[in-house]
């Protein structure tokens, strides 16, 4: 049965089962806790971004979930198969490790044929699969060339092809675009999108490139020093943590009145006149205000209007994922 068949006609009890369930996974190396209490669920076709600075625990998390490391505590399941059966999980997952090495003397086709055989395909099927995958990742013309002659981008695409070797339900990609030029990044991201959309595979994308996450991920998990510090959709994360600022222009003669009114407004954490720009105010709103970003801005506007200060111009700023990321990971320069 093909994977497509399996996806279209799953067993009755798997209709609503998440592709990946993670419950309180922790991993410690001696006294160092690399991952602490990681929990989430991922459904078919989802692309989940695993974000975090270097040393956040992303790679360790992926190694635990891909059965390379046993978890110190917690549990996870891939398509319902518990982590206690790693040999049963491995045929269901595809992984592009962060530091994936390649046998440089082999050709791309030989390399994929070998892995197809390791996944249990016959020699004939392995050859066919290698051809199909090389075509899919755009390496068909270089199939017979030795991997030593491949660029970094080509090697990454070869690694993605290997990760797709077994038609996996869940694919873990650890920094797949690291060191690639913009064109190479585009190709890999397009590949990731297609894998999720056309194969219905769940993709766990570990990266520290925030624009990639905004581009392809439906949900984000932000880690820092082993802890999950935020989880949700990109919009939720931005709303939750991104700083909000605004520039407001009022008549110059009403600047003092505007300052006084704004300082009283709910959700405004700071306001000041902009030096060298007469009539302009810089306003900072509190993060993750309970009434939401629009509510905070509206409150500020309302306070000006109630003080009879006309608003000549309003520019809402901030709210980028990178702002939220820097704030959450404590790397924001204030």
């Amino acid at each position: 049965m093909s994977v497509r068949d399996a996806v279209e006609a799953p067993p009755a009890n798997s209709m609503t089962r998440p592709a990946l369930t993670v419950e309180g996974i922790s991993k410690a190396f001696g006294s160092t806790i690399a991952v602490r209490e990681l929990s989430f669920e991922a459904n078919s076709g989802e692309v989940i971004g695993l974000l975090g600075p270097n040393g956040a625990g992303k790679t360790t998390a992926i190694r635990v979930l891909s059965t390379i490391y046993p978890p110190t505590s917690g549990r996870f399941a891939v398509s319902g198969i518990p982590h206690t059966k790693p040999s049963a999980i491995r045929p269901l997952i595809g992984v592009l490790p962060e530091s994936a090495g390649y046998p440089l003397h082999q050709s791309g086709a030989e390399f994929l044929r070998y892995y197809a055989r390791l996944f249990g395909h016959t020699a004939g099927r392995a050859r066919e699969i290698a051809e199909v995958l090389l075509m899919e990742v755009g390496l068909a013309e270089r199939a017979a060339s030795s991997i030593a002659t491949y660029s970094r981008g080509m090697r990454q695409r070869l690694g993605v092809a290997r990760a797709l070797m077994n038609a996996p339900s869940v694919i873990f990609l650890d920094e797949p675009t690291l060191g690639l030029d913009p064109a190479g990044q585009r190709q890999i991201l397009a590949l990731i999108r297609n894998v999720a959309r056309e194969r219905g595979a769940t993709v766990i994308l570990s990266t520290h490139f925030l624009d990639e996450v905004e581009e392809v991920c439906s949900r984000v998990i932000i880690m820092n020093r082993g802890d999950v510090i935020a989880e949700g959709t990109v919009a939720e994360i931005k709303r939750k943590a991104a700083p909000r600022t605004a520039r407001v222009r009022v008549p110059e003669e009403m600047l003092d009145r505007a300052l006084t009114a704004m300082r009283r407004a709910q959700g405004v954490t700071g306001v000041d006149s902009v030096e060298g720009e007469p009539g302009w105010l810089a306003v900072a709103f509190e993060r993750g205000a309970t009434e939401g970003e629009r509510g905070v801005a509206n409150s500020a506007i309302r306070s000006l209007l109630e003080a009879n200060v006309p608003i000549l111009s309003l520019e809402l700023e901030g709210g980028r994922l990178s702002d939220a990321f820097l704030y959450l990971t404590g790397e924001e320069k204030l």
Binding site: S87, S99, L118, F119, N166, V195
Partner: protein, 270 residues
């Protein structure tokens, strides 16, 4: 580029190989014997045997040892070099994958750890039959008049197989735990040299006898010498095979056990 859905329909999910060790061994054999490395080793080895045979067979002034000793020398050299080369490949088998950062991908396949190690061990052991086959014409050429060709080849095959299995297994054990390829090679060669040294020493007394019997290298070497040079019957010196047999069985069993503990990172040399 065609769609990935097309690729997906072309790729069914397999349940994993029924004999992953065979797939690993096949690839490792290709890597060893179709590579410049394997071929260079065989060429260098052939040249060494050629030189030795030429000197022994043609130069009567230099040829100061008799033919039996020469056949024994060639057989023992073939065996010792096979042990060294198999040790080289087996010590590199896992720690080399670690250094080249290819181990993680291998561990992510459904092939059990023990089968990965077994495949690599078999590939490392493969050097012995190849080197023995290369040595056979030289033994044939040197055996003239002695009638000991079959004894030399069979005794060499038996002792060499036991020693190569034991040392290649040792190489795999060290490689499983070693984070560094250099460390794995250094550790295994140290053990090899320690065990080889007594074969070059004049051993006498009960201590000497004990070392000869217990050390698989000296026991195997003495067994060959008695069969080839002293024309003993095979049954006379079977006790000398106990150490090589025990070494092959014990070390390969330990290798099989520790291979199940194969991890991404090595325990030593990080």
């Amino acid at each position: 580029m065609t769609s990935l859905a097309h690729a997906e329909s072309a790729i069914e999910r397999p349940s994993g190989p029924s004999a992953g060790w065979l797939v690993v061994a096949g690839q490792e054999l290709r890597d060893i014997w179709f590579s410049a490395r394997g071929q260079a080793i065989i060429v260098a080895y052939s040249l060494l045997l050629s030189l030795l045979t030429y000197l022994a067979a043609s130069n009567t002034e230099l040829n100061i040892i008799d033919q039996r000793d020469t056949v024994n020398l060639v057989t023992q050299i073939a065996m010792a070099l096979a042990v060294v080369v198999s040790l080289l490949f087996s010590a590199d088998s896992i720690s080399g994958e670690r250094e080249r950062e290819t181990l993680e991908s291998l561990l992510l396949t459904p092939v059990p750890r023990r089968e990965i190690a077994l495949g690599k061990l078999l590939a490392a052991v493969s050097v012995w039959p190849v080197m023995l086959v290369v040595a056979i014409p030289y033994i044939w050429a040197l055996r003239a008049g002695t009638g000991l060709f079959a004894d030399a080849v069979l005794a060499g095959l038996l002792v060499g197989t036991l020693l190569v299995v034991a040392f290649a297994s040792l190489g795999v054990i060290v490689s499983v735990f070693s984070a560094s390829n250099r460390l794995a090679l250094a550790a295994t060669f140290f053990i090899f040299v320690v065990l080889l040294a007594p074969t070059q020493l004049p051993l006498s007394g009960w201590v000497g006898d004990l070392i000869v019997q217990v050390n698989p290298m000296t026991a195997g070497s003495t067994f060959l010498q008695r069969i080839i040079v002293k024309e003993h019957a095979w049954g006379d010196d079977l006790h000398l095979l106990i150490a090589p047999i025990a070494a092959a069985l014990v070390v390969s069993t330990i290798a099989f056990i520790v291979a199940g503990r194969l991890r991404l990172q090595g325990s030593f040399g990080r």
